[in-house]
Symmetry: C2
Subunit: 246 residues, 2 copies
DNA sequence: CGACAATTTGATCTGTCTCAACTATGGTGG
DNA sequence: CCACCATAGTTGAGACAGATCAAATTGTCG
């Protein structure tokens, strides 16, 4: 499983899902010093309150940002896949206002703020790319507010599936057939503001309706258009350079 | 009511709630060309899908970002008060992924992207300030996801009141006694993912508990600490330079 | 094979929604 | 200055989506 990963390549691929780079930019990314670490399943990568001096890149596995509210209830704020930089905001915001956890065993690289700032000065396109990435995060948060605030369970869950599928596809983490989402139903609940039990029933409904086919954590979407429609999903908010057609 | 407003002063004050400026920065802000316009209550300032070439500053009144989901249900994503720049992300994201509407008659100034980019090059602190502001927006969105996803009605509503109060206070829009929130219960519902009727009952409960005193749209908070506690509110996520004590 | 985690099922409860009416409030024009 | 109208707030009753609790089943991995 711990195949040799090319950290810089993963990061480059991610950045190029939303910003066009030239060869000089790619070379500059390759020069970024990265410290790599393996994080075990259900371990935190950082916790709320931390003052950070580096940003991280998910190289393999799945991570999530989350908050714990009164009563110990958890709200997942976003999912992150190989290539994502889930804490770019730490470049300008001193303290973490949320935590980041690994939902599966994950490989994570760390790049110092200094190195990122330096490459941003040398290569303004990259500075813009990082800013853009942070703003796209914000856009996704907005969509999640609408998802959790105003959609019913079926819409919420299928919307989340659409988003994960399309983002993973853009990152090259899916074949057209299937995609692996190593996320438990409990975590799906914490992301959509629903209980685990209700997620289970909602997933069953989606399966019965032929919208999702699941075998364990490997899912496939037989009819993208129909899933999109029941999910009230449109990919605009991801600001991808190459969204899925249809 | 349309008192003479100093647009540049309003903007400066807002920026200084989260970034320290020096005199040169303030002078640079004063040099920004602004086009001012009055927007009537319940009119949109921009709509989802727009390609924007300028950013706006709310100079008076209250605005909100929102999305319409399937079935015409509205989700409000954020509230904005005098001084706020609610569309900074348009500097780097081509299309608006949501709309901005005026909840009361409002005065709005527009600054071209070009002018903002120019002042950001001349004054790097200001470029950072704008970026920081956009990231703080993101942080607020995260808190809203948690609010809507994992808090019960009383917590949700009181949390929103805490946030509005503290942000308005930082902007100099409150006395210690009272603050005016020209937001209807319907809008409160669209912001918290609750129905208007339930907002009404929740507000009554808050009043009965002595947590909020309201006369029309003017509210006061007799016991800040107690409201904070029932709201599960902590101001960290606002990343203010001077948060409220306690 | 054993043990622990994740999924599934059933039964019951409840927070919030919906619908529908009624009442205050504030602004407007006569 | 008042009558009117629209908008916002309030109340009650009933319905329902989703929560909770508890237990059984299935999966997974050492």
């Amino acid at each position: 499983m711990p195949l040799p990963i090319d950290p810089h390549h993963k990061l480059t691929r991610q950045i190029e899902t939303i910003t066009r780079l030239d060869e000089g930019d790619r070379i500059a990314i390759r020069g970024l010093p990265m410290r790599t670490r393996v994080v075990e399943e259900n371990r935190d990568i950082f916790r709320e309150g931390l003052r950070s001096t580096e940003c991280c890149v998910i190289l393999s596995g799945v991570a999530c940002r989350y908050k714990i509210v009164a009563g110990g209830r958890r709200q997942i704020l976003s999912f992150h896949f190989a290539g994502d930089m889930p804490d770019l905001q730490s470049l300008l915001l001193e303290r973490m206002d949320h935590s980041l956890g690994a939902l599966s065993r994950a490989t994570v690289a760390f790049i110092s703020h200094d190195a990122l700032r330096a490459v941003g000065i040398e290569r303004p396109t990259l500075a813009t790319a990082f800013n853009r990435q942070a703003l796209v995060d914000g856009s996704i948060f907005r969509e999640w507010i609408a998802n959790v605030g105003r959609r019913v369970a079926t819409e919420r869950v299928s919307h989340l599936i659409c988003e994960c599928y399309e983002r993973m596809r853009a990152l090259g983490l899916t074949t057209t057939e299937r995609f692996e989402l190593p996320i438990t139903q409990n975590e799906l609940g914490d992301a959509t503001g629903l209980s685990t039990v209700h997620i289970n029933r909602t997933m069953q409904a989606l399966r019965k309706a032929g919208l999702v086919v699941s075998q364990g954590k490997v899912h496939s979407i037989p009819d993208w258009r129909r899933l999109r429609e029941t999910a009230d999903y449109s990919p605009d908010y991801l600001h991808l350079l190459a969204p899925l057609p249809g």
